[in-house]
Structures are given as C-alpha cells and as structure tokens.
Point group: C2
DNA sequence: AGAACTCAAGTGTGATCACAAACACCGACC
DNA sequence: GGTCGGTGTTTGTGATCACACTTGAGTTCT
C-alpha cells in the first residue's frame, strides 16, 4: 500500500528547496500528519513536495539526526512510534529543560508580552469549552513557546522544539484524551502567569515542572503503548 | 589562503560515506581540530575526506541542524565562535541535563562498570600530573560519557553530545588553563564515584551540577571571550 | 499445501553536471 | 590614498544518472 501523504505547505520566502522541505516535513510531523510507523520514502516524499529527490533526501537525513524520525539500517525512514520508555525519557528531559527556559525568560518578560500570553490562555480555555482539540493543542503550544522564546536562548529553544517534534505523532492520538481531563488538573498556565507577573520565576518554573510530570503520569496510564518499536539508530549495514 | 584541515579518520565499519563523513567531522569538531571562525567549504571538506562533494554537503547540513556549526544565510558553514552568552547557555543546559543522566544511570550501575570508571579517573589524574592536556581532557570525557551511557536514555545522550560538540572548539583553547586549576577545585569525580557506590544518585548528580557551575564561572573569568583567543590560532596541517 | 527460490520493481547512495548567487581581487577613478 | 566598480573565480544548490542492495510477490519444487 503506497500512501502519498498530503504535506501542508508553508509560507516560504526565498528559502532553498531543501530548507523548505525540512520545515514542511517538520511541521507535518509535529501536527501529526503522518501516522506512527509510516514509511517515508525519499522518492515519494519528493513527489509529494514537488521537487527532485535531492532536497527530500537531505531533509529526511536532517530529521533523522535530531531523532525526529527513525532510520532503519537500510536507510529507510519511519515515523517514530514512541515506546513507553521513550515517552518517559522525553518527558524527563522536558521536565528539566522547560523549567530552565521559564527561569531564563522570567527576568526578561515585559507587561506587554504577559498580556499577550494571557490572551492565549483565554483562547486555550475557550477551545476546550468549544471541544476543539486542534485549537486546544495549538494554543497550548503557542503559550509555552511564546514563553520559551523570551528566554533568549536559541539553542535551548531548538532543543525543546526537537522534544515536541518527537512527541508529535503521539500527542495527535492523545488529543481527545488530553482535552477531556478535568480542568483543575489540566493546566497551571494561569498560576504560571500570576507567578511571572510578580517576578517569581522559580515558582512558575516549578509549576511547569509539576504540570509536565503530572501529564506524563496521566498519559502513561491512559495511553495504550505498544510493546516494541523505536528502531535502533543506524549501525553498520551488511554489505557484501 | 586555502587551508585544507586534516580530518582524523575513524574506525568506520561498513557505514555509508555520508554517515562516515558526519562522524568524522563531528569527532574533529569535538576534538578542536578546526579553529573557531574557520570556513568549512563543501568542496574543500569533500577533498579532505576523499569523497565527492555530496556526502560532505549532507554531513555539514546535519551538523548545522544540531547547531554544531553555524550556517550563514548564503549557506556557507563556519566553525562556531562561542560568545560569552552562548557559553553560559550551553553551561546552563548542561547543568540540567547531565545531572539528570547521572540520576538515571545511578539505578543501573553495576560494580564492574564502577571499577572501570575508577580506572579512568586514575588515568585522568595521571595525565594531569604528567602535564598532558589532550589525555587529560579525553579522560574527563571518557569518565562522564561512560556514566551517561549507562543512563539507558539514547535521546538524552545525544543531546548531551551535541552540547559538548558545540563547546569543543572553545575547550581546546582552554585546555592548558583547565589543567592548571588547583586539583582540589578541579573535579569531584572521586566524590561522585563514592556517592554512586553507595547508591546516592542524587548526591552524585548534585556534585556534578556544582562542578559544571564552578567550571563555568572559572572559565568566564579566565577566558577572553570577545577579543581573539589567547593562544595563537592552531594551524591545521596543510594537506596536498 | 507449504516452503524455498527467483526475479523484477523499488530503494538509498553517491558522482557528475549546470546554474546563479556570493565572493575576492585588482584596476580605474575621484 | 582611499573608494568604487567590474570581472573572473569560487561557492552552494538542485537535477539527473548509474549502481548495489532490499523487498516482496509470484513461481516452482518437494
């Protein structure tokens, strides 16, 4: 069965084709366009992108480097299927890095940014009330990354992005479950904003850490993880 | 002046040329073979690697993706020159991730591994006494990464590697300064091992965090960041 | 009928080529 | 002397092609 996935376009400026291919695939991955376990063949992706295989090849290799996709020994690329252990690992790293980003951002936030973020939280809650999981998840991302961007730490930012990227396919499956959580337990974004307004970066960071750990525990219960997967990284390949 | 740096070979098994190119460049970068600010042209790297430009191109793009090198808008790749802020950022991330790795590893260490690591610490001290900075730094890496590998967290491991990669060129310049530090203040590896032997992973993690923060503070004082490096730019051996 | 084999289509890899933009160098000009 | 402009080179990009390996379906043999 050869599926040719639809890959959403982006508002590409004059970027090189390779860069555009990379960004488009990245976006598609984070939005859960590909189902876990799907095979991403170079030629087929190129076809879907409307380019020659070359840009698709480099883009896929780059994604494999940051472990956003898995690469088989043969070089074939698969959409990762997070195991229980891998999910726990991603969450543990998030629980360290994202609070760090909050602490760094706390010293640089101004009132205007805080107000903008409060709006995002309101939209987030509205999306939950309206039963729109896509908007719900998007606003969640928007709030947190809006905060992380203020940290002024580009490397940290891209590392966090990579973690979310890897988590993407899983969260797409979990979107209904996540939105259905009791609001009281669901998010602490209001409390975080309040802490940040009074300059208590450490408190906000701790709130976030708790939120991540709580959601992780919840999903470990709620989600049916499959036994095996998360292909091993490329090793020596048999060649005779 | 076209310098064609010597790039050390690796014990490549059967890997594709692109993968080998990536690993070789990565290794060279971490060992400080390239001086900060150097321009890495695709064709020249390919020549030094003995391949066509193609594998060199993909390898450089991959390194740029994980921010191990800097990419100009034109696509040209430069060896990063760490600014003061970037060095602080890398250190702050290390201070979160590496203790996490220690905590994860603590529950999985066995006596044999601990003994092997104790040997590495001994060699580390011997290298300091003998005044061999290359061995000194190498043993330091060997000890810590030997520990991190035991964490059983592949994604965390490769993120830490990426941080060291970025820090590589800087540390090469700092090798004499680092080795000259008073031994008492220099490393807490013995204390870490002792803590791990009695199962106190949190204590070991805290030791490491303190070590990282202390070394960062030390280097922020000792290294001339904005101007040019103290040591004469290490010249790569001309090849041809 | 079940298993091993065969073969053709599909796959990733890497070299080569064409092209446009960026760059460096050197002379002419103010 | 310093600045500007033109020109030849070098650079990154992307398409195309050849090749070896993998894969899977169809066939044949036991």
């Amino acid at each position: 069965m050869t599926i040719t996935p639809y890959i959403p376009d982006i508002d590409a400026g004059d970027l090189p084709l390779e860069e555009r291919a990379y960004l488009r695939l990245r976006q598609a991955l984070m939005e859960g366009v590909f189902s876990p376990g799907a095979k991403l063949s170079i030629r087929r992706v190129a076809e879907a992108l409307g380019t020659s295989p070359m840009p698709a090849r480099t883009a896929l290799r780059r994604l494999a480097t940051e472990q956003a996709v898995d690469a088989l020994p043969s070089g074939t690329v698969l959409v990762p299927r997070l195991t229980r252990a891998a999910f726990q690992e991603v969450s543990a790293i998030r629980a360290e890095l994202e609070p760090l980003a909050i602490r760094l951002a706390a010293t640089r936030l101004d009132a205007r940014t805080l107000d903008a973020l409060a709006t995002v939280v309101a939209e987030h809650d509205a999306a939950r009330a309206a039963g729109k999981p896509e908007v719900f998840l998007q606003k969640d991302r928007e709030f947190l990354f809006g905060l992380y961007r203020q940290a002024g730490a580009p490397m940290l930012f891209s590392m966090i992005e990579a973690l979310w990227l890897r988590r993407g396919p899983l969260f797409w499956d979990a979107r209904w479950i996540l939105m259905g959580r009791p609001p009281a337990a669901a998010h602490r974004h209001d409390q975080m904003l309040a802490a940040l307004r009074r300059g208590a970066g450490d408190v906000a960071a701790q709130e976030l850490k708790v939120e991540i750990e709580r959601m992780t525990a919840f999903l470990l219960e709620a989600l049916p993880f499959e036994g095996q997967a998360a292909a091993a990284p490329r090793q020596a390949r048999a060649r005779r």
